[in-house]
């Protein structure tokens, strides 16, 4: 090649770090969504709100990956069979929160692995230095939980609430038998007592269960006795 002159253009130098824009986490979590166990409720600001749990979607776990086809319904069906309410990400009943699950790019320094970290749209982790401060839109999350009740995904009535209270009373009764030897025990008892009292007070505002129909009394028609009866 006859090269007598060649002009080189300067290229802006930037040192790109793959992990710099990623959230440092202890463990890359898995795809998941939320579900509700029938008796997991809390009373917050006078409202009964469902306490939500995590339903993981991992190959090898709960039939999620069946013969190479990943299907969330396989997992949801297990939980539905146990009386739980599934909250599929993408359920249009959830309105603006239909897609309530989200991801952020993350890395795990201990294993030098990168991936997507699954969170809800209500979470907003902030990295300060190399540590993560988790912030949550509590008002938004509570409104989301209220919506679950309003649209009928999570069902609450006085019967269920009564059973929730019964379970707390059982725990409290057990705690009463234990000598209170530490501040944490005292606080746990006080917390339970407060919870139970507040929940009982709010029971009146809930739909009452429909009483079971009473069986009709069986009537026996009398017939005049005759000599043969003896």
């Amino acid at each position: 090649m006859d090269l007598t002159a060649k002009q080189f253009s300067p290229q802006a130098f930037s040192e790109v770090s793959e992990t710099r824009d990623r959230l440092p986490v202890q463990m890359i979590n898995n795809k998941h969504e939320l579900f509700h166990k029938p008796f997991d409720w809390e009373l917050k600001n006078g409202a009964w709100l469902p306490v939500l749990s995590v339903m993981p979607f991992m190959a090898s776990l709960n039939n999620y990956d069946m013969d190479g086809v990943k299907d969330c319904e396989n997992v949801r069906q297990i939980f539905r069979n146990k009386g739980c309410a599934c909250i599929p990400n993408g359920d249009q009943r959830l309105g603006k929160w239909a897609n309530y699950m989200a991801t952020v790019d993350a890395y795990n320094p201990a294993m030098n692995s990168v991936g997507k970290y699954w969170i809800t749209v209500f979470d907003s982790p902030i990295m300060v230095g190399n540590r993560v401060k988790w912030a949550r839109d509590e008002k938004g999350y509570d409104a989301f939980r209220q919506l679950l009740v309003d649209v009928g995904i999570c069902v609450l009535n006085a019967t269920i609430a009564g059973m929730v209270i019964d379970r707390k009373v059982e725990a409290l009764t057990s705690m009463y038998q234990v000598p209170v030897t530490s501040k944490s025990k005292q606080l746990a008892i006080e917390l339970l007592e407060r919870d139970i009292a507040a929940m009982r007070a709010s029971l009146l505002g809930l739909d009452q269960p429909v009483p079971a129909a009473q069986p009709k009394r069986r009537r026996f028609a009398s017939t005049p006795a005759t000599e043969d009866d003896s």
Binding site: M55, P56, M58, N62, D67, R167, T181, S182, S184, A188
Partner: protein, 308 residues
């Protein structure tokens, strides 16, 4: 130019250094949760990655139909669950130069498969904690794991008719919280119990870190965080029949294929394949593993919530 290796071995192998014979493991999770489960043999070659687990209720009320009267047939109360195996992989590669200059790297790479397999299957098992629903979760959000929480879980399982071995799986943080709670117990019977001494003086090693009052305490780094702000760990207490575990055995498969598998002591379910890449002057190892985990009986487990 300094001697280089493939990407996955770049940098830290110290090829340019003289002494390259020994690898030191960085801190990592070593515990295996497999023993928490009932291990179900996987039927290989049966045409499906999914197996049915069948259950019956052995106790039924006896009938009392009266003299000279035929009893009605009492049908079995049955239930079934399914468990599916799926593939997981780990692929490692190193240059010939890396192996030439350090004689034990290949062994290290293969043995790391075993450790990774143990971690992986344990993380599958640990993920099941939040799924137990029949028994109300014990512990509270933002509250450390205490002696009372463990007793609450124990009572819940015993009331559900669970007998025998009970395992508690939580994060290492939960174990230390429990130990702190145990230190604070002033009730004399607890303090003088040999198990309490054992719990407070455990050295943190072993799949079971210690047993206390009939409960095997186990920890795993993969126990998931839950609740707003990731403020809690979702552990669980269970009896072995709460969770089923299976892994597709590969022995029959290997005997029919022209693989050159490495064997790893005690593991019959991983394919560890040696892939020599002559042109590149590299040698690769790939591990295939086909585990399956599923809940067997919900009432045999209870979620344990504790603060991070």
């Amino acid at each position: 130019m300094a001697a280089d290796t493939n990407a996955s071995l770049a940098g830290d192998l110290g090829i340019t250094a003289y002494l390259n014979l020994q690898f030191f493991d960085l801190l990592h999770e070593t515990r295996d949760l497999k023993d928490v489960c009932t291990v179900v043999p996987f039927t290989a070659g049966a045409g499906s990655a999914t197996q049915k687990l069948r259950f019956i209720q052995p106790v039924d009320p006896m009938t009392q139909p009266g003299e000279a009267t035929a009893p009605a047939i009492t049908n079995w109360t049955t239930a079934n669950k399914t468990i599916t195996v799926a593939k997981s992989n780990l692929y490692r590669s190193g240059s010939d130069l890396a192996y030439l200059t350090g004689v034990i790297q290949a062994d290290n790479l293969v043995m790391s498969f075993l450790k990774s397999v143990v971690y992986h299957r344990s993380s599958l098992i640990a993920a099941l904690g939040s799924g137990f629903t029949a028994n109300t979760a014990v512990g509270s959000t933002g509250v450390a794991l205490t002696v009372d929480t463990v007793y609450a879980g124990l009572f819940a399982l015993r009331k559900a008719l669970v007998e025998g071995q009970i395992d508690l799986v939580t994060h290492a943080t939960g174990i230390t919280q429990f130990m702190a709670s145990l230190r604070g117990e002033t009730a004399t019977p607890l303090q003088i119990a040999p198990e309490t001494q054992g719990a407070l003086s455990n050295d943190g090693s072993g799949n079971i870190q210690f047993s206390w009052m009939g409960v095997n305490f186990r920890s795993h780094a993969s126990v998931p965080k839950i609740n707003p702000g990731n403020v809690d760990y979702s552990g669980f207490m269970s009896s072995p029949r709460a969770i089923a575990f299976t892994e597709a055995p590969v022995a029959n498969f290997l005997s029919r294929q022209a693989f050159n598998p490495q064997t790893v002591a005690g593991e019959t379910a991983i394919i560890c394949q040696d892939l020599s890449t002559e042109a590149a002057g590299a040698r690769s190892y790939i591990c295939h593993y086909y585990p399956g985990v599923a809940e067997m009986e919900d009432a045999r487990g209870v979620q344990v919530v504790s603060a991070v």
